[in-house]
């Protein structure tokens, strides 16, 4: 029995509608050839799925206005909404297979077990940027969207060929207020208020990004605390007294780490969010408030009806 003919444009629209219905704020298709060209060997979509034809990127998340005023220690938990992106992508992969009969995968978001820490299997950020749903910011290349602000991303790889979208025509970063601040003090808010001072950069005369510098190692000391566990154990082994050994393993900070390892979540790998808390695009984009943005979902339904 011959396979049904799939209209790529129609299929793309159907998939986008599905993703938005499931909570995606933005959906785009990245140019696969561009990804393959930019991503280093071993981290290209074809390394994971040899017959991949399209990479779909979905963006979800954002925060209520109230979340940005939370104490940072609470923000470490509330700030991360990435699992919602994964859920959408996971569902979309099933949806594509069931709807179009084409193999699809939800792209694993985690570290590459073959590549060691700080190396992802795929760059979800690169996918999203090339899919046109985010542009690199001065805040360590965190992607920003002029309407949705700061989002989390997930990707779907599929053998279904879909027409790619273009990257965003304009980069919303830096915002005009950030340019003003940079002109006065030589720093944007994200640079100034980064707790580990891992950000620096320059803005050109036209108010565009000239140089972005990101010390990821410093950032990881704040946001990726897995290194603390072996450090704590080393400290315990080197302790000269029983009390020091007990402190190394059981002092309140270290007990929190054990908790994160065993039962906890969130803060263990949570970003500190301070660069985004200070970012006018992340916090004040027109639809960065999920409550205000629900009209988009309603609009999708209305359009479909």
């Amino acid at each position: 029995m011959p396979l049904p003919v799939i209209d790529p444009v129609q299929a793309k629209q159907t998939i986008f509608e599905y993703c938005k219905k499931k909570g995606a704020l933005a959906v785009g298709v990245a140019d696969l050839a561009a990804i393959e060209r930019i991503a280093p060997p071993g981290h290209r979509p074809s390394d994971l799925m040899p017959r991949v034809k399209s990479v779909i990127s979905v963006g979800v998340g954002g925060q209520t206005a109230g979340v940005w005023s939370l104490p940072a220690k609470a923000m470490a938990y509330f700030g991360s909404t990435e699992t919602r992106a994964y859920a959408v992508a996971y569902g979309a992969a099933f949806f594509i297979e069931s709807k179009f009969g084409v193999p699809s995968i939800y792209c694993p978001p985690d570290m590459d077990p073959d590549g060691g820490p700080r190396v992802p299997l795929q760059s979800l950020k690169l996918h999203a940027e090339l899919a046109g749903i985010g542009a690199r910011s001065l805040a360590g290349d965190i992607l920003l969207h002029p309407e949705f602000g700061y989002m989390y991303f997930a990707s779907i790889f599929t053998e279904l060929e879909l027409p790619p979208d273009a990257p965003m025509a304009e980069n919303p970063c830096p915002a005009p207020s950030c340019v003003d601040m940079y002109r006065k003090i030589g720093q944007t808010p994200c640079m100034k208020f980064c707790p580990v001072q891992c950000l620096s950069g320059e803005i050109d005369d036209a108010g565009k990004q000239k140089v972005m510098r990101y010390d990821m190692a410093k950032c990881a000391e704040m946001s990726q605390q897995y290194e603390s566990v072996p450090a704590m154990l080393m400290e315990a082994m080197a302790a000269e007294t029983t009390a020091q050994r007990e402190d190394a393993l059981f002092d309140p900070d270290n007990k929190m780490l054990w908790y994160k390892v065993s039962a906890g979540s969130g803060g263990w790998f949570a970003q500190c969010f301070e660069c985004m808390r200070a970012c006018p695009i992340a916090t004040q984009a027109p639809a960065s408030d999920p409550i205000r943005r629900t009209h988009l979902l309603r609009q999708v339904k209305a359009d479909k009806a």
Partner: protein, 661 residues
């Protein structure tokens, strides 16, 4: 291991780690630099040109450096581990909710304040029985009282009410709070930190109070030095308490305290700062300037103390080899004042005057009761009988903290007839054995004033006292009943708890009791009974109602050929003798009997005829004293050696005894 392979399998050596660690780290994504926006603009040439700046993968680094991917992975992760510093997450704990990170105001948590070695020793000495501590908390005796907390409360609730009064000079609670905050900031800037001991040798003046409160505000520990102490005594105590700063007068009548403290820095390595009140002294800070120009400490950088923090280190005796220093925290010290103020019927409307120096527990107790209630403290810088009487007449205190010797001296000079002392509603007499006759006389002269007695020690604080409304018999003949939170018992030398009416050692325990002498284990061994009760060393009798009459000191008991007797009642009789001002009976070594009684006496002003031993014995015999308890030697001295609370130091009198024959 990397990818299941050991460093030996990969061929990693320490030399390789050292050679390539930095370059691998820099080429990796740990350091990223992007020029412009090449990916979004799909400027492929620029993407390629910036690949290295934006961070290479391990394989790309390997190709560039001539290493395998596994070697790069190993080197990179080792380098990441080596550079990783823990604890950065702590920075977040103070951010958010409107607060943002500012590098210039941030101190990494490992670089933040830590207690010094001496401060940790002090804190370690605050060890209480856990069951007892739990009991004190459950009863509400131990709470969150601190002096800075009380001061802040009064500054808010009664800002314009007087806190300190000395004639025309009145300092309100608001002003007292502001001055102590400024001084605290200045002390902090001078390097005094939480847990540091600050020695203070000042009379009962406003600057003492301000300094005391400022020291407390920083969480530092006040150690008082009695005004009569001179360089050798001061050195001994400062060596023991490891004070980092001293606050004193620039000059005094017969010595220069500030200069002496400055000299002591050479032999006392912990002593860094000397602060002087009065004329400028080279090398010393000016207390007045610090109070005027200091900036209140930052609440984050110098958090206020909590009730469990050490607070006072007070020396009870011994200025030579083994000083006995009673360590108190706010729990022990302030619970006593809070629970006792209502018993003394002191309220915020009162004015309290202490004739006792603030360097002594009894004087501090007066301050603490005032600080708790919001009452004003009337200041008497240095006790003299005329000054005390004049201060009462001028500043109209309603409550007087005094000693029997103070009242006896005023009586001897006829000051009760010369000054109006009628403002007094209560007098609390303590510090030495109080002759009943003196209490009766005092009560007759001030019928509107409740004359009460109080028994306490630096270790126990105000443990016993009579209450306003007690009968004259109780007020004159006993030291009263236990204070709230205190328990008392009378014990035999063998440790047996004695019944009412039996003389024995007074022992106490309770929420105001100190945890032990600081850095003096030998003294602690002797100070506590096996079950934790404090052995006061005082002989006492408790009646059925719990009133305790102090009958003497165990050490003062005279053993005359096996017959032991307590000379306290004989001293009371001698004190009432018309020719005598004060008396003290001490044991005199005797080759036959072991000990005999020797009476030391001073004469009342104006007495010219010297009493004889026989005349005094006749006087005592006529008042029922048995022959074997009579003094067998008489020594007339010009002055008694007195403690700061005017208690006779019998040990010094014993040095004057004639050699045994």
């Amino acid at each position: 291991m990397a990818r299941g392979l050991t460093r030996e399998q990969i061929g990693i050596t320490p030399a390789m780690l050292q050679t390539f660690g930095e370059v691998v780290f820099d080429l990796s994504h740990n350091h990223q630099t992007r020029h412009g926006d090449p990916i979004r603009l799909q400027d492929w040439a620029e993407v390629e040109r910036q690949r290295e700046d934006m961070g290479l993968s391990d394989a790309q680094i390997g190709a560039k450096l001539g290493l395998t991917r596994d070697q790069v992975l190993f080197i990179r992760t080792v380098e990441e581990r080596r550079r990783f510093r823990t604890g950065h997450y702590q920075r977040l704990l103070e951010l958010g909710g409107g607060k943002r990170f500012r590098p210039e105001k941030f101190t990494p948590h490992l670089d933040r304040f830590r207690y010094g070695e001496a401060a940790l020793l002090l804190r370690a000495a605050l060890a209480f029985d856990p069951q007892r501590a739990r009991h004190f908390v459950a009863q509400g005796w131990w709470g969150d009282d601190t002096l800075p907390g009380w001061l802040a409360r009064h500054a808010k609730e009664r800002p314009d009410a007087p806190a300190l009064i000395q004639g025309e000079s009145i300092i309100t609670w608001r002003a007292l709070h502001a001055r102590s905050e400024r001084l605290a900031g200045a002390l902090s800037a001078a390097g005094i930190a939480k847990g540091d001991v600050v020695a203070v040798q000042l009379p009962n003046i406003a600057e003492f109070v301000i300094a005391f409160l400022a020291i407390c505000r920083l969480g530092a520990v006040l150690s008082t030095l009695h005004m009569p102490y001179r360089k050798s005594e001061v050195e001994s105590l400062l060596r023991h308490n490891r004070a980092t700063a001293a606050i004193c007068l620039s000059s005094a009548k017969d010595w220069n305290p500030a200069a002496s403290f400055l000299e002591l820095r050479a032999s006392l390595p912990d002593l860094k700062t000397v602060i002087a009140l009065g004329a400028h002294v080279d090398g010393a800070l000016s207390l007045a300037e610090l109070i005027d120009t200091g900036t209140p400490p930052d609440a984050l950088e110098a958090p206020a103390p909590v009730a469990a923090d050490p607070f006072l280190l007070l020396y009870t005796s011994g200025t030579t080899a083994a000083p006995k220093a009673a360590l108190h925290n706010y729990h022990t010290m302030l619970s006593n004042a809070r629970l006792s103020a209502p018993e003394h019927k002191v309220t915020s409307a009162d004015r309290l005057l202490s004739a006792a120096p603030f360097s002594h527990l009894f004087g501090l107790y007066c301050l603490h009761v005032a600080f708790h209630t919001g009452a004003a403290s009337v200041l008497l810088p240095v006790f003299t009988p005329p000054d005390m009487a004049a201060t009462i007449a001028r500043d109209a205190p309603t409550a007087l903290w005094t000693g029997p010797a103070h009242i006896a001296a005023c009586r001897a000079l006829g000051l009760f007839d010369k000054f109006d002392l009628s403002s007094l509603k209560i007098a609390i007499m303590s510090g030495a054995a109080c002759p009943p006759e003196l209490v009766r006389w005092f009560a007759e002269r001030l019928p509107g004033c409740a004359i009460t007695q109080l028994w306490g020690m630096t270790e126990t604080q105000a443990a016993l006292y009579t209450r306003p409304g007690d009968s004259l018999e109780i007020a004159a003949g006993t030291a009263g009943r236990v204070s709230p939170g205190t328990e008392a018992r009378i014990a035999s030398p063998e440790g047996e708890v004695l019944t009412a009416g039996t003389e024995g050692e007074l022992q106490v325990r309770g929420c105001p009791l100190f945890p032990g002498y600081f850095n003096n284990e030998a003294a602690n061994q002797d100070a506590f009974a096996a079950d934790g009760w404090f052995r006061s060393g005082d002989l006492a009798v408790m009646d059925a109602a719990g009133n305790v009459a102090i009958t003497g000191r165990i050490k003062d008991v005279i053993n005359r050929g096996g017959i032991k007797f307590n000379p306290r009642d004989i001293e009371d009789l001698l004190d009432a003798h018309p020719q005598l001002l004060q008396s003290a009976i001490v044991p005199m070594p005797d080759p036959v009997l072991g000990e005999r009684a020797c009476a030391f006496v001073t004469l009342r002003p104006g007495v010219t005829e010297t009493p004889t031993l026989q005349a005094l014995c006749d006087y005592l015999t006529g008042r029922g004293v048995s022959k074997q308890r009579l003094p067998e030697h008489l020594m007339i001295v010009a002055d008694m050696p007195l403690t700061p609370t005017r208690k006779i130091i019998k040990a010094r009198l014993q040095l004057l005894l004639p050699a045994p024959t």
